[in-house]
């Protein structure tokens, strides 16, 4: 009589165990991710200044937000930064991965060299590049000391060019990581396919263009997802590298959100900018993910 009961308990436990084990992380995600997204959305419709307040004012924060020149600068900057960052990182990462995949000697040593910048935090990268690019102490000064007096590289002090120095530093940091992802993708490609193509007389260029790169599609997906979220949350790099300057010329949505929410006591506007960021990223990612993942089935 007792044996079936035990078995019953066991099966039931087996049924429940995965759910039980997953429950805490599920609850934590539910509250701390989706709960706070909801909290921010609600805040964006209130007149909160320094601390959250619950007086609803409709879309006023959004109207104010888009009237701010400062916000338009931030949007323009993120457009420039995200496009260049994603495209250049992917291109360099792919190129490095293809070169490293030529069965060259010393790959084991080269790979970590390219990968290591990723081990640094963006604060370190930002500070190091700030010094390197500073005309008074960095590259320009060294060139002058070496006798190349006419050398000039003052992008970091230039209102229009400073945003590109952020692209440079960010690309330096992340391309090695993208390379590693593509390298893993390249190693996963079936050699039989490549051999078959070679027998059919495909050149190296054709081989990569028609077979390898299309087969890397999942790696492109991961690279795109990771790079685009790194781009939109780029806060620490900007703070360390330019501090949003010169003036306000390298302000990004993330730095905008922080300063309005926490230092300018305009929490409502800060929250609405966060919501716009979320919606922007969702508008780009959701169709892309949907298209990519649907095709696989």
């Amino acid at each position: 009589m007792s044996a079936p009961a035990t078995a019953d308990f066991r099966t039931r436990l087996q049924d429940w165990l995965p759910k039980l084990v997953l429950a805490p992380s599920f609850a934590v995600t539910l509250i701390f991710v989706y709960g706070f997204i909801l909290f921010t959305v609600i805040l964006s419709f209130t007149g909160s200044k320094m601390l959250p307040k619950w007086d609803f004012i409709g879309f006023e924060n959004y109207v104010k937000l888009f009237a701010l020149q400062h916000w338009h600068i931030a949007l323009r900057n993120i457009a420039i930064f995200a496009t260049l960052y994603i495209v250049i990182c992917t291109a360099i990462g792919l190129m490095l991965a293809i070169f490293l995949d030529q069965k060259i000697r010393g790959e084991g040593m080269l790979r970590p060299i390219y990968l290591y910048p990723m081990a640094l935090s963006f604060i370190v990268t930002g500070t190091a590049w700030k010094w390197f690019l500073d005309p008074g102490i960095g590259l320009e000064r060294v060139m002058h000391l070496w006798g190349w007096e006419s050398f000039s590289f003052t992008w970091i002090k230039d209102n229009d060019m400073a945003i590109y120095t952020i692209v440079i530093a960010a690309v330096w940091q992340t391309s090695g990581f993208v390379m590693a992802m593509f390298l893993a993708g390249l190693r996963g490609i079936d050699n039989e396919v490549l051999k078959a193509a070679q027998i059919d007389g495909a050149s190296n260029l054709q081989l990569y263009r028609r077979i390898v790169i299309p087969l890397l599609r999942p790696a492109f997906l991961s690279a795109f997802v990771i790079l685009s979220h790194l781009a939109i949350k780029s806060y620490d790099l900007v703070v360390a590298l330019t501090g949003g300057g010169p003036g306000r010329s390298t302000e990004m949505p993330a730095t905008f959100m922080y300063s309005y929410t926490f230092t300018r006591n305009q929490m409502g506007i800060g929250a609405s900018s966060a919501v716009i960021m979320l919606m922007t990223i969702a508008a780009i990612m959701v169709p892309y993910l949907y298209a990519e993942l649907k095709e696989k089935k």
Partner: protein
């Protein structure tokens, strides 16, 4: 045996006493005075309290203007566990008072007569709704010019008193192959310079524009003139000014690479640390055209709502200690600022400090003591940052003439209100 018992008993008493003190009579203080000189100045207060048996739980959150500290504070208050006292600036104090988070110091203030000795312009921040909520520690005045004496001598030797004389001196310094103005291109530093330019257009005008936020004054001719002067002054910066920290700019004046710096009185600390003597190595003057008026910012300790007799007593004792003339003198000599009460003897201060105390008292009597816009003592944070946006854009060359900038300023301030 008897001695042992006695010793044991007193040890017990001591332990109990300490435990009691730890539970009821500590003050927990959130502040951002973490750099060498500042920490030394704060130590004066710590030791003073320790001598009264009050413990000090330090809660330093580093970061110049206290932005990080304010973020930490938000978390503590939202969690219902505020510290005893928090270092705070200007409108932040009023904002926290409006949230109902601050305590009441009326009893201490009345017993010690704060109303009579603390300048009215400071009380505007230390009082909310007629009640004392914060204890001012110091007054920094921001309309100072720090000039390298040797560079000035080479450029004619006369300290400028008008804007035209200033330009003449700057031209002479430029001709002597110096960077005429050592400036750090960060929004608050740009705004500090601009404060002085607006004040030089007239004390009434400063009040109308920056304190009353009158749109006509903000967008008017005088503001345009002030912006034109700012555009003129930026031609004396070196090409590498943007993003430079203020103390590095001070170092340029100290080393003789640059002629002068426009900065608040905290810059003096850098000169003193480098072993320079006021009057012989460097001189301090008010920004040309602003002698007699003072723009200030004031560090205060805002006292939060704490519960329990012991904690309240410790908080009151801390407030008393902060306002005691000995502490005011000792602290401000180290910090470079001037005392927050006008009856503190100036004997311990150097020449620049003495001048600062005299100017403050004079401005207080004449009604020309104003909160600094750049340092959040003229208007709330949202307005302050809106003015930063425009001023820093001018310094970085985004506006070619003052009139357009003045109009942009009026618009930005209107949008932030």
């Amino acid at each position: 045996m008897k001695i042992v018992t006695k010793g044991f008993a007193s040890a017990m008493a001591l332990t109990v006493g300490l435990a009691g003190a730890a539970r009821a009579e500590d003050v927990e203080v959130l502040h951002w005075w973490t750099s060498g000189g500042e920490a030394a100045a704060l130590n004066v207060l710590k030791e003073d309290l320790a001598s009264k048996g009050i413990g000090w739980i330090d809660m330093p959150v580093a970061g110049g203007g206290g932005e990080a500290a304010m973020t930490a504070l938000r978390a503590r208050v939202t969690a219902g566990d505020p510290p005893t006292a928090v270092q705070m600036l200007g409108f932040d104090i009023q904002d926290w008072a409006a949230e109902g988070a601050l305590g009441n110091l009326d009893a201490v203030a009345a017993a010690e007569g704060w109303d009579a000795v603390i300048p009215g312009a400071l009380q505007r921040f230390s009082k909310y709704d007629g009640h004392w909520i914060a204890a001012p520690v110091n007054v920094h005045s921001t309309n100072w010019v720090w000039i390298n004496k040797a560079a000035l001598d080479a450029a004619g030797g006369k300290a400028p008193e008008t804007f035209d004389e200033l330009i003449a001196v700057l031209d002479a310094m430029k001709a002597n192959d110096l960077t005429a103005i050592a400036h750090g291109g960060q929004p608050w530093q740009d705004a500090t310079l601009f404060d002085a330019l607006v004040l030089a257009e007239g004390t009434d005008f400063y009040k109308q524009a920056f304190i009353d936020l009158d749109p006509a004054a903000l967008g008017g001719d005088k503001m345009a003139a002030a912006f034109d002067k700012l555009i003129k002054l930026r031609s004396y910066f070196d090409s590498n000014f943007s993003g430079r920290d203020w103390n590095l700019a001070s170092a340029m004046v100290i080393n003789g690479e640059a002629g002068m710096q426009f900065m608040g009185d905290w810059a003096k600390g850098e000169f003193l640390k480098a072993g320079k003597v006021p009057g012989t190595d460097f001189i301090c003057i008010r920004f040309p055209g602003t002698q007699g008026a003072v723009t200030f910012n004031s560090d205060q300790f805002a006292m939060f709502n704490v519960s329990g007799e012991g904690k309240l007593a410790a908080q009151a004792a801390m407030a008393t200690a902060i306002e005691s003339p000995t502490f005011q003198s000792a602290f401000n000599v180290v910090k470079g600022s001037v005392p927050a009460r006008t009856d503190v003897p100036d004997t311990a201060f150097d020449d620049c400090g003495k001048k600062g105390i005299k100017d403050l008292a004079e401005a207080n009597t004449n009604g020309t003591l104003f909160g600094s816009m750049a340092h959040g003592h003229a208007a709330p944070a949202s307005v302050k940052n809106a003015t930063y946006d425009v001023i820093t854009a001018v310094v970085n060359g985004e506006y070619s003439d003052g009139a357009t900038a003045a109009k942009a300023l009026a618009d930005a301030v209107a949008a932030a209100q």
